[in-house]
């Protein structure tokens, strides 16, 4: 079987949300001498990216996305075990994610957390209605590379600005990337408050984050 066929089969197992098939393809690709890293990046990761696109179009639903992410995790575990220690993929980054204090909306933030996890990030979802101090405490505790804050309302959005200031006051602002999201956030809002970027959707967030972490 050609390389591209292996990749396509891997993609299809994710689109089919079929964990058993994903594990089988992962194992068989190794037997066939495929490079595990290529299978991860061009096969299973591509599959989950496509699932994310379909979710954003309303063609795939959250439970399907979750099952697909589990299938991908299972397949990647098999492939990673076959990698030499020095090639084993490290986490792309450590992210602390939460909805600012006063805001109880957590649906979008939860979806972003799931998508970031399956794209190789270590995500610490600290929930909703989160005081600023807790963002900072958690970021320190896990040595975060990225802090993401969500706010759904103009009345709570100010919390994202306060977070930026609090990070400066704590001497941490230059050590982390900050990203903002939520229904009322925009590129301009991110610039205005000094955040590194605005993530409009899961796909947009992952794309921009990868640029920042290059």
């Amino acid at each position: 079987m050609e390389k591209t066929e292996w990749f396509q089969k891997a993609v299809q197992t994710i689109l089919d949300t079929d964990e058993d098939a994903a594990k089988e393809i992962a194992a068989k690709s190794l037997e066939a001498g495929m490079d595990p890293l290529e299978m991860i990046n061009q096969g299973f990761t591509e599959g989950i990216r496509k699932m994310g696109d379909l979710f954003e179009r309303g063609e795939v639903f959250l439970p399907g996305l979750i099952v697909a992410s589990e299938a991908m995790t299972a397949a990647v575990e098999i492939l990673e075990a076959a990698l030499p220690a020095e090639k084993q993929q490290e986490k792309k980054g450590v992210i602390v994610l939460g909805t600012v204090e006063g805001d109880i909306h957590d649906i979008g933030k939860g979806i972003i957390a799931t998508m970031l996890r399956v794209h190789g990030y270590e995500v610490h979802d600290i929930g909703r209605d989160v005081p600023i101090e807790k963002f900072i405490e958690k970021a320190k505790a896990v040595n975060a590379d990225v802090i993401g804050s969500s706010a759904m309302m103009t009345t709570t959005q100010i919390g994202q600005r306060k977070l930026e200031q609090a990070l400066k006051n704590a001497g941490m602002r230059d050590k982390v990337i900050t990203m903002v999201g939520g229904a009322v956030a925009t590129d301009h809002w991110a610039q205005r408050i000094g955040s590194d970027f605005f993530g409009e959707s899961p796909k947009d967030t992952i794309m921009k984050l990868e640029e920042f972490l290059k």
Binding site: G58, F61, P63, I107, G110, A113, T114, V184, T186, E200
Partner: protein, 348 residues
């Protein structure tokens, strides 16, 4: 022609060339057509939008005779947000006498059915007093807001926490239980308001918490129409498609998840909704021409299949109006004119 001044979806000004403008208009309608599996706008309609955006007039309006009904959701809350200190009844009077409102809506600051339930009697009194002094039809409005039924704000486990743990069955069960409670609350509050004399009930931002949220509104509508056949029910949506957070909920055999506005309205009609309010959200990173072309494509498809009046949502960040607290009138007026004239709307 030189550069055309228009705006981004965030409201910020941006310059475009003629070709860029037409590219964005085409891309916007194609995006909607592709997602919704609906026809894109015709060349004539795109040319109409092109002329709108190349016009240097600050303010545009519909042709005489094409005026539509303006219904305002949550009017008292909007004055409250400007820190103008007026009572809610005075707010309604300001909307009817000073702002050209064709309908009025009373709402509580929490704007959700659940928190209104324990204070419904005081809300009824305000509604009854409002009815004594106002003239246009008066809605009572609130959101189904299914999020309020999950822990820590409500009795049921939080699906947003269960789902990432892979506990899909438990998450779905929590959504289903939340629907049952939400329906009871919507019916309870709406019944009280109707029996106090409200002309209509507005279920606003429906679907914000996904397919279960929409299902709650549809089921509540069914019950209310059985109890009060004459009640007017308006259902306003939260987005162009129903987020599939449960994923398997159906209404009369139709899966709700992933439904776009032209299918949503058919569900609303089946449930007995009187007026439907489709929503198409703005992408702040795309231009207003792209957004308006896209929003009109979705809305037109909805209007074409609807047999009930359509009042499209055109507030902050929806329906072609930029995502900013203070939308510029150049864009609001263009969006208003184009949406009404292309879609043949019944109201906003």
């Amino acid at each position: 022609m030189g550069k055309i001044m228009t705006r981004m979806g965030s409201g910020f000004p941006v310059e475009m060339s003629e070709s860029q403008l037409m590219e964005d208009l085409s891309a916007g309608t194609e995006d909607a057509a592709d997602r919704g599996k609906i026809p894109p706008l015709s060349k004539e309609e795109l040319k109409y939008l092109f002329d709108l955006f190349t016009s240097t007039d600050r303010f545009l309006s519909v042709e005489t005779g094409k005026e539509i009904v303006l219904s305002y959701d949550a009017a008292p809350l909007k004055l409250m947000r400007t820190a103008v200190d007026v009572h809610r009844i005075q707010s309604l009077q300001i909307y009817e006498k000073l702002l050209g409102a064709d309908t009025l809506e009373l709402g509580h600051v929490d704007y959700s059915f659940k928190p209104v339930k324990p204070i419904v009697s005081t809300e009824q009194t305000v509604l009854e007093q409002s009815l004594l002094v106002t003239h246009p039809p008066l809605f009572y409005g609130a959101m189904p807001n299914l999020g309020l039924y999950s822990q820590p704000d409500g009795p049921f486990p939080n699906p947003s926490e269960l789902m990432p743990l892979g506990k899909i069955a438990a998450a779905r069960d929590a959504y289903e239980k939340a629907v049952e409670d939400a329906v009871k609350d919507i019916v309870y509050v709406s019944s009280a308001m109707y029996e106090s004399g409200a002309d209509g009930i507005n279920m606003d931002t429906t679907g914000a918490a996904g397919d279960a949220d929409f299902l709650a509104a549809l089921r509540a509508t069914e019950i209310l129409k059985q109890k009060y056949p004459d009640v007017c029910i308006e259902v306003g949506m939260a987005g162009e498609f129903i987020l599939g957070l449960h994923g398997e909920l159906d209404y009369n055999g139709n899966r709700l998840a992933g439904m776009y506005v032209h299918d949503q309205v058919k569900m609303a009609e089946k449930a007995g909704v009187t007026i439907f309010g489709p929503v198409v959200n703005m992408k702040s990173t795309r231009s207003c021409p792209w957004n308006l072309s896209r929003a009109i494509t979705f809305t037109k498809a909805c209007c074409e299949v609807a047999s009930i009046p359509i009042h499209v949502n055109m507030g902050m960040g929806v329906g072609g109006v930029p995502l900013t607290n203070h939308p510029p009138v150049d864009i609001t007026s263009r969006a208003s004119k184009a949406m009404v004239e292309i879609c043949r709307l019944d109201g906003l």
